[in-house]
């Protein structure tokens, strides 16, 4: 039998820290007790369901459940990575998502800068409201509207025809599908995203602008030398945080707009999972793609957080 010998000083040290801990708890236990319900909820509804991720490694049949379904290890993942269209859908996802992130952030920044220059408060509010309203419309509705507008007999093509341009099948052309996605997404998102930039711009002291104006700086010079540097940390922060969404190319939007002809430029991970997982009932396969996506997204979020901390001094924890 081994007796753990501890140094008297060490023991007294640990005893001391234990005593301190007890005193701390005796004093602060109510605070911890108040956290408890939230922790229980978190564990019950966020962590416990994660257990279901095991079906990514199983050939899942709901009749056998999580515990009884046959275990097939990494077969689902191998299957996905060997799919002939895996490369294509990953590429589409990345291209569309990155284009969307860049377009929305740049668009929002420009919009915010423009709105910031507007002196008439009423006009500014109206524009701001109008630009962020589309954010609240579902893509099911927007999709229907766009399908109609962009059809060969829709308003866009009729206008083009009047101008002597041949009708373009926007949603059926691999050249046009991505631009349509990106522009329509920008139209929907830009007003909403501009709010944060506007808030940051408003926090810049007006004295700086006044001083610059007195020194003879033009509007453009004020934008480049005061506004932009003033919100640089916000820009970096938002850009870094959006990295986590690089694998989310906008499922709802694409599902409502795409068709087989534009699969080669428009089919993304989520739409593929939807067809394979939900329509064909391959829950395991869908879970495997979801898990792979989550892992990549987590890595990206870690990178983003580190970047944000280093360059924008932003910390969450």
């Amino acid at each position: 039998m081994l007796v753990q010998r501890t140094h008297p000083v060490q023991r007294s040290q640990s005893a001391q820290s234990w005593r301190r801990m007890r005193a701390y708890l005796a004093r602060n236990w109510p605070l911890y007790a108040m956290c408890l319900p939230a922790l229980v909820l978190l564990a019950l509804f966020s962590y416990y369901p994660m257990y279901g991720v095991v079906i990514a490694f199983q050939s899942y049949n709901p009749a056998f459940g999580f515990t009884g379904s046959p275990w097939i290890g990494l077969t689902n993942f191998k299957f996905i990575f060997n799919l002939p269209d895996f490369l294509q859908i990953t590429q589409n996802t990345l291209i569309i998502a990155i284009a969307k992130i860049v377009s929305v952030q740049v668009g929002a920044l420009v919009l915010a800068l423009l709105l910031n220059e507007v002196r008439h408060l009423g006009f500014r509010r109206v524009i701001q409201t109008l630009t962020y309203l589309p954010y609240f419309l579902s893509w099911v509705v927007l999709g229907g509207v766009l399908l109609d507008m962009l059809s060969t007999t829709g308003i866009v093509n009729l206008t083009l025809q009047k101008m002597g341009i041949q009708p373009i099948i926007f949603l059926g052309s691999n050249d046009w599908f991505r631009p349509v996605l990106i522009v329509s997404n920008m139209w929907q998102q830009v007003g909403w995203s501009a709010i944060i930039y506007l808030a940051a711009l408003l926090s810049i002291s007006p004295e700086l602008y006044e001083a610059a104006a007195i020194d003879g700086a033009s509007h453009l010079q004020r934008v480049f030398h005061i506004s932009l540097p003033g919100i640089a940390s916000t820009i970096i922060l938002l850009a870094a945080l959006s990295l986590g969404g690089v694998l989310n190319a906008g499922f709802e939007q694409i599902l409502n707009l795409y068709n087989p002809v534009v699969y080669s430029t428009g089919d993304i991970l989520d739409t593929w999972v939807y067809r394979a997982g939900l329509l064909s009932g391959q829950l395991s396969l869908a879970a495997a793609v979801g898990l792979a996506k989550s892992v990549v997204s987590m890595l990206l979020i870690i990178v983003a957080w580190t970047t944000a901390r280093r360059y924008a001094g932003y910390r969450i924890f």
Binding site: P37, T153, P167, P260, V261, D267
Partner: protein, 612 residues
């Protein structure tokens, strides 16, 4: 000092108080689970009340005097309107099964879609009330739903082991297979052999195609796990519909060959007869589906002997996949030519079937489309509302260069109705189904439902005005399947023939229902009845049938999404001219490599096993 201490204590007290409050709230939040237990128990104690009810019903059944009609009258659910001057009498089948001796609760499920006017109160349901009175069966709803939720609800029911006793409408074949693999379904082979009605249940199934097809889905290793239920015949078989007034205006004949379809479509388009802006008239209305229910391509590909997604019997006794057969290449060649010539809409592949129907056909943008027999009413009625001059006509699908006509013969039977493993009253439920099916599928019994629920009296006339009717009530089982499903898939056609036969009755002697059915100023109803029988009559010669009637094989489940995507991409690219015709050969090679060969082997193993 004293004040300080007090202050200190009060802060701690506040903290403690808040904390205990939080814990208390947490605990009370958990409480209801315990509190509800007594209610659950009281629900359970309510069940024993039922025996007296059922016992009463049983003693009533023993009394020889009460006929079925008297018993239904007693509970106020007699179908038909025998007492009305212009009414009719529903002939009720006899009840042959032994009276119930115990309360029999049957948990069932029901598919309802958004927009269905349905009451789920069992008191409102003639089916539930009559089944209780005549058979002692107490139907209860375990879950109902529709759309995407339907699959989710099923998956949850399977995962939680809480399936209904009597199951309706498996949302996908995969779900049925999961239930079978999980050993969750009752083997009903023996009860079926002993109790299913020979005329109304067995005969239609035993005489359909080779006598096996109807059962294939629900049978595994020679045992039956479901009561098959089919789609009504000719629901998807196509006819060519054309604007008669446009044909007359241009002095054209109804097309009988694909070449004529092309020339008529181009003539319509050139003349710009559509209702839309100039230059928006379409030739042949076509949507993106290769096989579907409206404006799909199957009416065209069938002329080349193929229908996308079907497994077709070959001369050597094997099954082959239609999408990779040479006939498909020929069909694509024709469609490609049509697309280039402007016969079919330039954006057809972005148009869903519903839009082709509700926007383009009903909006009078196109004068030609392929649609099933029900096309006599939809979208024709809407088209006539939008343009009072619109007049539609139909003909059999025009033939291709081979001269051999083909048509979609999709008369499939699904797994139908299954029972939960261990359910005790399979025999009793089946006997009640015998009764209901023989009542509803035999036109000569003259069952049209219940006054105020299915029709309403308006003086001497009956009306089907849905705004005045009470909400329809839930019904369960074969005779209450959704979407025109039947045991005898020809039941509908038979009833149409029966209605046509009323035309020989002198007008003043017709009852209100006959007047209603024959009152058809637009001619769409008569047209529909005629077009139905036309498809059914011709189907024996023209029908192209899918011979693979089973839940998907293992490889199908794995590769279907990829293969479908490959097909959709390639075929549309060929038709629209984005790819050369040779892309088809590449597609066939890729299809075989990417799991297609495996699927073919599995399908043929299955085919051999059912023909053994």
């Amino acid at each position: 000092m004293c004040v300080q201490a007090k202050k200190h204590v009060s802060r701690r007290q506040i903290l403690k108080f808040t904390a205990s409050l939080a814990i208390g709230t947490g605990l009370t939040a958990c409480m209801p689970a315990q509190v509800t237990q007594p209610t659950v128990a009281s629900n359970a104690t309510e069940v024993p009340v039922a025996p007296t009810e059922a016992g009463a019903a049983a003693t009533a059944a023993v009394m020889p005097a009460a006929t079925v009609e008297e018993r239904l009258k007693k509970i106020g659910w007699l179908p038909g309107s025998p007492d009305h001057a212009k009414g009719w009498k529903t002939i009720l089948p006899e009840v042959t099964s032994a009276p119930a001796t115990e309360p029999m609760v049957v948990w069932a499920n029901k598919r309802v879609e958004l927009g269905d006017k349905i009451s789920d109160d069992p008191k409102d349901s003639p089916m539930v009330q009559i089944s209780k009175e005549l058979f002692g069966l107490d139907f209860q709803t375990k879950f109902s739903g529709g759309g995407d939720d339907w699959t989710t609800k099923w998956t949850l029911a399977i995962a939680s082991g809480d399936l209904p006793d009597f199951m309706e409408d498996f949302p996908t074949p995969v779900i049925f297979k999961q239930c079978l693999d999980g050993n969750l379904l009752e083997d009903i082979t023996d009860v079926w052999e002993a109790s299913a009605d020979p005329t109304w249940m067995k005969k239609p199934l035993d005489t359909y195609l080779d006598g096996k097809a109807a059962y294939v889905y629900a049978r595994q290793n020679g045992r039956l796990y479901g009561m098959p239920c089919g789609n009504r015949a000719a629901n998807n078989g196509k006819l060519l519909w054309a604007r008669q007034d446009w044909l007359d205006k241009l002095n054209l004949k109804m097309p009988t060959t694909l070449d004529e379809v092309k020339s008529v479509a181009l003539a319509f388009q050139e003349a710009g007869l559509g209702q839309g802006a100039a230059g928006t008239t379409l030739g042949l209305n076509l949507c993106s589906s290769f096989r579907g229910w409206f404006a799909s391509m199957d009416g065209i590909t069938a002329q080349f002997g193929v229908i996308s997604g079907f497994w077709l019997a070959q001369d050597d006794g094997t099954l082959a996949f239609a999408d990779i057969m040479l006939g498909m290449k020929d069909a694509l060649t024709l469609l490609r030519d049509w697309y280039a010539a402007g016969v079919i809409p330039k954006d057809y592949y972005t148009v869903p079937d519903a839009d082709a129907m509700n926007k383009r056909a009903a909006g009078n943008l196109a004068g030609l489309h392929y649609a099933p027999a029900w096309g006599a009413r939809w979208p024709v009625e809407d088209s006539m509302t939008n343009d009072p001059n619109a007049k539609w006509t139909w003909a059999q699908v025009p033939v291709g260069p081979s001269g051999k006509r083909g048509n979609l013969g999709e008369f499939t039977y699904g797994p139908g109705y299954a029972f939960k493993k261990g359910f005790k009253y399979v025999k009793q439920v089946m006997e009640s189904m015998n009764w209901w099916v023989s009542l509803k599928e035999d036109p000569t019994k003259r069952y049209y439902g219940f006054e105020n629920y299915d029709y309403i009296w308006d003086g001497d006339k009956v009306s089907l005005d849905s705004t005045k009717l009470k909400n329809k009530a839930l019904g369960y089982g074969l005779a209450f399947s959704r979407g025109g499903a039947y045991v005898d898939i020809y039941a509908d056609a038979k009833s149409y023939d029966y209605i046509e036969s009323w035309k020989s009755i002198p007008e003043d002697q017709r009852d209100a229902w006959q007047v209603l059915q024959l009152d058809d100023p637009l001619g769409t109803q008569t047209n529909m009845r005629k077009s139905y029988s036309n498809i059914i009559q011709n189907d024996k010669n023209d029908g192209i049938f899918n011979k693979f009637l089973s839940a998907p094989t293992t490889s199908m489940v794995s590769f279907q999404t990829t293969l479908d995507k490959m097909r959709d991409e390639t075929f549309h690219a060929i038709i629209t001219g984005q790819k050369e015709l040779d892309a088809f050969d590449q597609f066939v090679t890729d299809w075989k490599k990417t799991g297609g060969d495996q699927i073919t082997t599995e399908v043929n193993e299955w085919y051999k096993s059912i023909n053994a």
